[in-house]
């Protein structure tokens, strides 16, 4: 009952609307909650992130506005709304204006194919995963629009870095999802979640609990971090090198929109990670299935957000060559091995054999690739030579 509360509420509300406008109202009732919930989640995340990072650095974090600083996002929103909107004279005004809007629109679209609970999906597309990645690729365009139209060297550098990084990491991101698509035999997100429902004994049938799924999940999350320009892959906006990267010339609410778009992208890609590897809205243990499905989805989402914050608080920013080496020399071969391993898993039947073969592929590849990465980056004490 509670599980389907929102679905039933929507049908109940639709019952009171005349037949002619019913489709329009139905669309509205699906979209408006998405447009409300995720920006609210963004506000919660900013304060969680700042407090979490503060605690990691043995500080308090924001604690002035409201009770324990929980109203900080409101203060931030007011501040960015009241700030002056500055557009450089030599900027391309139209594109400069459009870039944050494109980013925001693109950031909202992928939510259409994320199942956030049982029967809770905006558009059940047959090629949902494909739609997700197709839309995700447009965010690169908006980033480059912002960088190019600002007419600033730093923002152009940032945009170029962003595009290079996003295209490089799109490859392992897609390959690790292909493993899941192969195992599930479907591109539909609803279908993929349905395949992961049910249990092996007390363990859920999530793909993350298989050897290839675990490796795929790690690769997916690393690529997702790079894809959303989050630390340690935040080179496009590296504050210490290129000030703020592609949004250096954005102020006030346009800057806030970029921020919002970036976090929405992070939530969306986390949602896809949950759908592909963590069983979507399904419960982790058989005796917990009475908890509403949407609670599980958002609990998992919060868990991944905390993971993102934790990683941000731990790792320093990568260098550009390290970033590229990691993408092409480690992530890509590893993702290909994951695909092969998932294939072995698919065709070796239900036995111990498929566990061993699948795990063997992953481990051998990991050890060999790790040795390759390590041997290239021998860190030695720098020898200084001075003129005699």
């Amino acid at each position: 009952m509670l599980d389907q509360a929102f679905v039933l509420l929507k049908h109940w509300l639709l019952g009171y609307t005349p037949g002619v406008i019913q489709p329009a109202i139905s669309i509205l009732l699906t979209i408006v909650p998405i447009l409300l919930i995720f920006p609210v989640l963004f506000a919660v995340t900013t304060v969680l992130e700042r407090k979490g990072l503060g605690r990691i650095q043995n500080r308090y974090g924001p604690n002035r506005v409201g009770f324990y600083g929980i109203l900080q996002p409101m203060a931030d929103a007011l501040k960015s709304l009241t700030k002056e909107d500055i557009v450089p004279t030599s900027a391309d005004h139209t594109i400069h204006f459009l870039a944050p809007l494109v980013l925001l629109a693109v950031a909202f679209l992928p939510y259409a194919v994320l199942p956030m609970g049982r029967n809770m999906i905006a558009a059940n597309l047959d090629a949902g995963v494909l739609f997700f990645f197709a839309i995700g690729a447009i965010s690169e365009l908006s980033v480059f629009m912002a960088g190019w139209s600002s007419r600033n060297k730093y923002s152009l550098l940032g945009a170029m870095r962003a595009v290079a990084q996003m295209i490089s990491y799109e490859v392992p991101l897609l390959l690790s999802s292909i493993a899941v698509i192969m195992a599930a035999g479907s591109l539909s997100t609803v279908e993929i979640v349905a395949k992961q429902a049910g249990f092996w004994g007390i363990f859920p049938r999530w793909y993350v609990l298989t050897p290839w799924g675990f490796a795929g999940f790690i690769l997916f999350m690393i690529a997702a971090t790079a894809e959303t320009n989050r630390s340690p892959f935040d080179l496009p906006e590296g504050e210490s090198e290129i000030i703020a990267g592609y949004y250096i010339e954005y102020s006030g609410f346009k800057f806030a929109l970029f921020f919002l778009g970036e976090y929405l992208g992070m939530f969306a890609i986390s949602g896809l990670g949950i759908t592909l590897f963590l069983g979507g809205w399904s419960a982790p243990l058989p005796f917990l299935t009475w908890v509403p499905s949407w609670i599980w989805f958002f609990a998992k989402l919060l868990g991944l957000i905390i993971g993102f914050i934790w990683v941000r608080g731990t790792l320093p920013r990568l260098r550009m060559d390290q970033l590229m080496n990691f993408a092409w020399k480690f992530m890509l071969p590893m993702a290909l091995v994951v695909v092969v391993s998932a294939g072995a898993w698919r065709f070796l039947g239900q036995g111990v054999m498929r566990w061993l073969v699948s795990m063997g592929f992953i481990l051998v590849a990991y050890v060999l690739l790790a040795r390759g990465v390590e041997s290239r980056n021998k860190i030695a004490k720098r020898a200084y030579r001075f003129a005699e």
């Binding site: 990691i56 043995n58 500080r59 308090y60 934790w310 990683v311 731990t314 790790a370």
Partner: protein, 190 residues
């Protein structure tokens, strides 16, 4: 090969370290070194200085002001933030000698660079550095131009904020006053 030597081992170690810091900050109050400023504050160091003030002796800021409007500080001030206008009449100083006094003594807080040169050149120990750092104001013109009335502070304030330095000044002034008294004394007895 040890576990932490594997690729990714260092990341796990780093994640453990940040987790330890995160959880530790909730348990161990010693870790949180931040001073919550407006409510809590650290004691100000004795040598701390921020902005000059004028010293007066006794209770009346107008009568007891040590400044004799010699205008040395005005001339020495590198950013030229001091404005002094000399008085027409004279009044007795601490040894009883007739001296001028400043009719106007203004310092522009927004211009002052806290260099303490005015303090070093003052032959009358009339100007000293205060340690008050909360000088913000909502009026950026009048509020930042401090007049004689606002600058004048009793000698007790100086003794309180810079005790060591003030004690030396007090001793020297006492000596000067004693010498002046000694000079005056024979004249009376003759």
């Amino acid at each position: 090969m040890r576990a932490e030597e594997m690729l990714g081992g260092g990341i796990v170690k780093g994640l453990a370290e940040t987790a330890r810091n995160f959880l530790g900050s909730f348990v161990d109050k010693e870790r949180l070194v931040t001073v919550q400023y407006p409510e809590e504050r650290l004691p100000v160091a004795e040598a701390a200085r921020n902005f000059p003030f004028l010293i007066y002796d006794g209770t009346d800021p107008e009568q007891g002001l040590r400044c004799v409007a010699c205008q040395i500080c005005e001339k020495e001030c590198p950013p030229r933030c001091i404005t002094i206008e000399k008085s027409k009449d004279k009044k007795p100083d601490f040894v009883g000698k007739q001296q001028f006094y400043p009719a106007v003594f203004d310092i522009d807080v927004s211009v002052c660079m806290s260099c303490q040169i005015c303090v070093e050149v003052c032959p009358f120990d009339a100007i000293r550095m205060d340690n008050n750092f909360e000088l913000s104001t909502t009026d950026r013109f009048g509020g930042l131009l401090w007049t004689k009335e606002k600058l004048a502070m009793p000698n007790e304030h100086y003794l309180a904020i810079h005790p060591t330095e003030a004690a030396e000044v007090e001793a020297r002034r006492a000596e000067e006053r004693a010498q002046a008294e000694a000079k005056k004394q024979p004249a009376v007895t003759e």
